[in-house]
Symmetry: C2
């Protein structure tokens, strides 16, 4: 497995692969890999095929953290990350430096203006601008044919899909289902922030999503009723602070009043130092 | 000479050229070509070499026009444009449709946040966002190794250079000197808007730049003094309305008080229906 730090070397590596007709598949991450990432890598390996070039990037992107967020304490473990990458058949790990990605005088940003307004965008101004910008830059460094993103970050996935289409990037975006712990908690690098009692309280997040899904299956149709059901479950945990619970259109992310068919139920909850997000598609066609 | 209308065909054409090791050079325009464009094309032809693929695009970009600007009346003459392209050895003319460039639901924009604030950016909100966005999209459609822009649109050139660097586009940006009429007026498609007396009044624009350059050569160092000299020349023409005259740093485009070495002198003047811009680098090392 190659480890590439320089932007120009990464570009040269991908160009060489393309010149030989190899497919380039890309899994961008912020590192501290868990089994959710493992699933992204497995999906990437399949998409690249035996002969393709599978690139995993590890870059904690300052541009997507707000001034009061956890950039400086974001967990890192490069040795463990490289081990997992090796196990899962990654061909090249790309670990650019912050100053190479954002050199002095950097001032160009991309925004997906409507999709970024909703859900996490309301509370994290500039977050999705930072995400879209770094993903576009990484795409130009890695030059992938396909790139793999998790559905846990559903809004991010939709924004990247939209950006790829709107800017004619020619990159196929592959979404991968959320991987969960045995009790349902979505895998996240930020789960490492949770103490044991906080970790137990965090079960209320997937629990509330299950209750929403069951609610829809048994006839609940009003968004406010679903939100009420979820709120009650999470509020049983005194350490859990709800940032938002939303029922929205799964493409536009605009709030829905009534569920006609399918909907995205998404929430953000702070527990201790961890701000956790999760989501689930609910459907009136599923029975409880 | 090929004429390509479809985005996917353009991408396929460029990919095929690259696969054969051809250099792809791109000259983006809004059409109604004049001798300034001819110079861009000649430069592009040289950069592409005999065997390279030289692509000229003709696309009047709605995203860079304000609601009260001249989008609907912007001059067009496709037959004449194709004739010039053929004469100058263009290999492919790319003429995408507005709905292909901006399909329903389009909402992704690029901004070069600091450079876009100055000069024309102050009076044309959204203009450079529209320019940067369409150029990024066109780059992703044409996939050039190099692209050619005129220095008459100096701020645009600086913004594109910055964007290419900041977003790791891997496109070499080539700037070409302004081509002028015999009396000094910079070539522009919008010169077509001028009546005969307006056309005569427009000479005051390059005249004022020449006076600024001469002023610096003879010892004038204060920006406000230069601006005063220029203002007097243009104000002799009753049909000329000054939008701005600025003396600024030629890289950051920030206003200068005093010229220490070189400076960009730039102005925008409305004459009748035409909003005309021009600029000149002045230097204390040049003697009048």
């Amino acid at each position: 497995m190659e480890i590439i730090k320089e932007v120009t070397l990464m570009q040269a590596r991908s160009k060489a692969a393309k010149a030989e007709g190899q497919k380039v598949v890309f899994v961008p991450t912020m590192g501290f890999l868990h089994d959710g990432h493992r699933e992204l890598i497995k999906t990437g390996r399949k998409a690249a095929g035996k002969d393709g070039l599978l690139v995993l990037s590890i870059f904690v992107n300052p541009a997507q953290f707000g001034p009061k967020e956890d950039l400086s304490t974001y967990p890192r473990d490069m040795d463990r990350d490289l081990k997992m990458a090796g196990e899962e058949g990654v061909d090249a790990v790309f670990t650019p430096g912050v100053d190479d990605v954002y050199p002095r005088g950097f001032e160009t940003f991309v925004e997906v203006t409507e999709l970024q307004k909703h859900l996490c965008g309301e509370r994290r101004p500039g977050h999705f601008r930072g995400v879209a910008t770094v993903v576009l830059k990484l795409f130009n460094m890695v030059m992938p044919d396909s790139a793999v993103f998790g559905k846990k970050d559903y809004q991010q996935l939709k924004i990247i899909e939209r950006m790829a289409r709107d800017l004619n990037l020619g990159v196929d975006i592959i979404g991968v289902d959320t991987v969960r712990e045995s009790d349902g908690l979505a895998m996240s690098s930020r789960n490492a922030y949770l103490s044991e009692p906080e970790r137990r309280a965090a079960r209320s997040i997937p629990g509330s999503l299950k209750a929403a899904s069951d609610g829809v299956a048994t006839g609940v149709r009003q968004a406010r009723d679903l939100i009420e059901i979820m709120k009650k479950i999470i509020e049983k945990e005194p350490v859990a602070v709800i940032e938002y619970i939303r029922v929205c259109d799964k493409e536009s992310l605009e709030d829905l009043d009534t569920i006609e068919d399918e909907a995205l139920v998404a929430l953000a909850v702070s527990i201790g130092r961890a701000r956790l997000i999760d989501n689930r598609i609910v459907s009136i066609r599923l029975r409880a």
